[in-house]
């Protein structure tokens, strides 16, 4: 498919651009990576040794080219702080964040789409107004504040959910996918699944608030437009049941514009997961990057930017394909 090939190549170009920019910025920051790597108590000779070992004394273009070479072999470099290969850390932590973001997006769509349809069908009535108010609340509540409230109430006071973490210390199972919900189901132990769900509940809820409010509002407004179209009127006039008009005939039209925004929200939630992860002690990519930024661990920061860019690019591509699937007028050419 020539369209896919072209999109793939432009995606690569975007990724290359982001790599270049983060690489250059990391070198422009007024700090000495060799000194950082060597540690605070290193003597100048040791720092010099590190500089040679890490080839940081080579011309910047040479460093750039060798960095690209490493990346193309799947090598994201070595963390200054942990001396671990970054790729291992990313593979270890990325699924945790992705699991949160995917479930939050799924939850916001499963709840938000029917709410939006309902609000549109009862435009300007009491239920519509209250739904809109709820949606605005969801969008505007700060994530960390909502997280703290939930912890205070449901974890500390009621004790329904664990305060933080991804799993209790006494539970463990094989992790072939890194997505604990899937892994726990594969372990065929209901108690494992239950433990995972209890840990997921609060962070997923908090993360879903923003996309939930957005979905409700977007679906509502595009449904109102679609329901005002003559084809919706014609279907109602022809005696097509209201449920079919709303959820089959109109929703498919309303979904396409809303999906584009929702996909970007998903990608955004991956990159902004650090707040939720910080509050809930979630071992994801967000908390990993936050600590890297605090320690000026440049290889990790650059790698993190790369991973998030890839998420954006992939999500965008999938959205375009999905859009074409929904709307026959969209041509992939």
């Amino acid at each position: 498919m020539p369209y896919l090939v072209r999109r793939f190549l432009t995606s690569l170009l975007v990724i290359l651009g982001v790599i270049t920019i983060t690489f250059v910025v990391a070198r422009l920051v007024p700090s000495d990576p060799a000194a950082l790597y060597a540690g605070p108590r290193a003597r100048p000779a040791q720092v010099e040794q590190v500089r040679q070992d890490l080839k940081l004394d080579a011309p910047i273009v040479e460093q750039y080219v060798s960095y690209l070479g490493e990346l193309s072999r799947g090598d994201l470099g070595i963390s200054f702080a942990t001396r671990q290969p970054i790729l291992d850390d990313v593979v270890d932590r990325f699924p945790a964040t992705l699991e949160l973001a995917l479930l939050a997006t799924l939850l916001s769509m499963v709840i938000g789409i029917p709410l939006g349809v309902r609000a549109a069908a009862r435009q300007n009535k009491a239920s519509d107004t209250s739904l809109r108010l709820l949606a605005v609340t969801g969008v505007s509540i700060p994530v960390f504040w909502a997280a703290l409230l939930l912890q205070l109430f449901f974890a500390s006071r009621l004790g329904w959910f664990p305060l933080s973490g991804r799993l209790p210390s006494d539970v463990s199972f094989n992790e072939p996918t890194g997505f604990f919900l899937i892994d726990s189901i594969l372990s065929a132990s209901p108690s494992n699944v239950w433990a995972v769900l209890r840990h997921l509940a609060m962070p997923v809820t908090v993360m879903a608030l923003f996309p939930l409010g957005l979905t409700t509002r977007l679906i509502r407004s595009s449904m109102i437009d679609v329901l005002a179209e003559p084809y919706s009127e014609a279907a109602r006039l022809a005696g097509v049941p209201e449920r079919t008009v709303l959820y089959r005939l109109a929703l498919k039209n309303a979904l396409a514009p809303a999906l584009t925004i929702l996909g970007l929200t998903f990608a955004f939630s991956v990159s902004s997961a650090f707040l939720v992860e910080a509050v809930f002690g979630w071992p994801g990519i967000g908390s990993y990057l936050t600590s890297a930024i605090q320690r000026l661990d440049f290889p990790v920061i650059t790698a993190g930017a790369l991973v998030i860019t890839v998420v954006y690019v992939v999500v965008n591509l999938l959205l375009d394909l999905l859009h074409a699937k929904i709307d026959p007028r969209v041509q992939l050419s």
Partner: protein, 532 residues
């Protein structure tokens, strides 16, 4: 008609809208009955209530609107609200814009299946065949955007028929179609109405179309029926003064503009012009020739009308003349200068000398700027007038075009269609052009406003020594205005004649088709004249 059972009858129907600004009476005590198998034409200008009448009966008016009166459907009577379900059960609608009446993301087959639950697939294909869609089996699997406007309207009619209606409400169903397609759709509606004994309420602002299709006509104004009667009687012998005015305003009934021959060399000389567009669909070849080897000379002070159906290349020609699309072969010369070799300064002068007026004034004006700002803009660009001089010039133009200076502080959406188009005209005239290119400038306007604007154009042309290149699909409008008419088909001019000659003695077969399908009021008007 008496003695025949009515499919739907309205007695003392009243509809009041209740916007925040205060109640508006849209329908004021209307009596109307429509009988099985007849085509009832409902004619009136926009705002006369012709659509609202049927929408209120079908329960399609907004919930805030109040209705009263008696509706009778199938022997049962009641208030409009009580009877709306019965009325909906026997009715189906055909809309003005067929593209909007079909759901873009479902196939024709899927949509037909939903409205016709008791039909199977072969019946559906049969239905599409009856409305004249080629390859019905394939059409079932097609999406609406794969159809032309005419085919879409046929699909909409098929959807309506699938509901087995007794009453078909057709609201301006051919307004968005070109002339030959219009004729086909009208013929189809008449045929189906006869075969299936369906009553058709045909709503239109166009008396010409009504004259071709309706058995009876009801003339509406301000929410009232002024008169009803057999079509021929209404068109040839209208009683109400308003009906007489409507018939007189219909462009086809007017006398032809007199030709003022100019011996000067052509102001605009188009020679062997070819315009191509890149084709999106590779399989159909890389490029489409929209205009091919076209030649046309427009003399100073002359009005040349370009007529043809949509897709014939008329608008592309307009865009090429003003330099909006490039041409691949041939030349366009304005006042002796070739468009392709003009310098920057010459281009700038050219752009003020040649102005364009497009079909939709609301799309030609910026929605966010005041009228004053938009009228100042060309003067700021092309003249070095001071603010005071510009104000004076604008005031003079506004006065000439019957526009109240109060409008200057408004934004386009606060104007009527006729006012907005006159603002666009004022903007074009502001920089003293010599040539104005019009692209369907009156198609979006009501009939009476349309005639006003055409009259105004004729006057302005004489006053300001203007030259017009006038593009229209409406032969009646062309006749009203043009000295010469060029008939375009497939990117070429197939006939170019003086207006009267063209109407008297069309040479090219395509011109004859156009003339034949043009819904002109010539016949009734002519017999009206002989009566005097």
């Amino acid at each position: 008609m008496a003695g025949r059972e009515s499919v739907l009858a309205m007695h003392d129907l009243r509809v009041t809208f209740n916007p925040p600004t205060g109640p508006v009476d849209a329908i004021r005590g209307l009596d109307l009955a429509i009988h099985a198998g007849e085509v009832l034409g409902i004619v009136g200008e926009s705002g006369s209530g012709k659509s609202v009448t049927f929408r209120s009966v079908l329960g399609l008016t907004p919930p805030s609107a109040t209705t009263s009166g008696t509706i009778t459907v199938g022997g049962k009577s009641g208030t409009p609200t009580e009877m709306a379900p019965e009325a909906r059960a026997i009715s189906a609608m055909v809309y003005q814009n067929p593209g909007a009446a079909l759901n873009p993301v479902f196939t024709i087959g899927q949509q037909l299946t939903l409205v016709a639950q008791d039909e199977n697939e072969s019946n559906l294909a049969d239905l599409l065949d009856q409305v004249g869609l080629p390859e019905p089996a394939k059409a079932l699997d097609s999406y609406p955007h794969e159809f032309s406007g005419g085919m879409q309207q046929r699909a909409v009619i098929a959807m309506a028929l699938a509901q087995r209606p007794k009453l078909l409400v057709a609201d301006e169903p051919t307004t968005a179609l070109d002339v030959t397609t219009e004729t086909q759709i009208l013929d189809l509606l008449v045929k189906l109405g006869n075969e299936r004994q369906i009553a058709i309420a045909f709503i239109s602002h166009d008396l010409g179309v009504i004259g071709k299709i309706a058995d009876r006509v009801a003339v509406m104004r301000n929410g009232e029926v002024l008169e009803t009667g057999a079509t021929q009687q209404i068109l040839t012998n209208p009683e109400h003064p308003y009906t007489q005015m409507l018939i007189a305003s219909s462009p086809g009934a007017r006398e032809t503009a007199t030709f003022t021959a100019a011996d000067e060399p052509g102001l605009l000389e188009i020679d062997n012009l070819t315009v191509e567009y890149r084709n999106r669909d590779r399989r159909a070849g890389r490029k489409v020739r929209v205009i091919e080897g076209l030649g046309l000379t427009v003399a100073k002070g002359e009005t040349v009308a370009l007529v043809g159906e949509s897709g014939s290349g008329k608008s592309t020609l307009a865009n090429a003349v003003v330099g909006l699309v490039p041409h691949v072969e041939g030349s366009i010369r304005f006042d002796g200068q070739d468009l392709a070799t003009m310098t920057r300064a010459e281009k700038k002068a050219f752009r003020s000398k040649v102005q364009v007026v497009f079909q939709n004034p609301l799309l030609s004006l910026s929605p966010r700027r005041t009228i004053a700002w938009q009228l100042h803009e060309p003067l700021r660009l092309y003249t070095d007038h001071t603010k005071a001089e510009r104000d004076e010039r604008i005031a003079e133009l506004m006065g000439r075009l019957d526009l109240d200076t109060e409008l200057l502080d408004r934004r386009p959406h606060e104007l009527s269609g006729g006012q907005a188009q006159r603002v666009v005209l004022a903007r074009a005239l502001a920089v003293d052009p010599t040539l104005i290119v019009f692209d369907e400038p009156t198609s979006a306007l009501d009939v009476s406003v349309q005639v006003e604007v055409l009259e105004l154009l004729n006057e302005l042309k004489v006053e300001r020594e203007l030259t017009y290149l006038f593009i229209t699909h409406d032969l009646a409008v062309a006749r009203h205005l043009a000295d010469r008419i060029a008939v375009m088909q497939h990117g070429k001019i197939v006939e170019l004649r003086e207006t009267q000659d063209l109407f008297d003695d069309p040479q090219h077969p395509y011109t004859r088709t156009l003339l034949a399908s043009s819904a002109s009021l010539e016949a009734p008007a002519a017999s009206g004249a002989s009566r005097d």
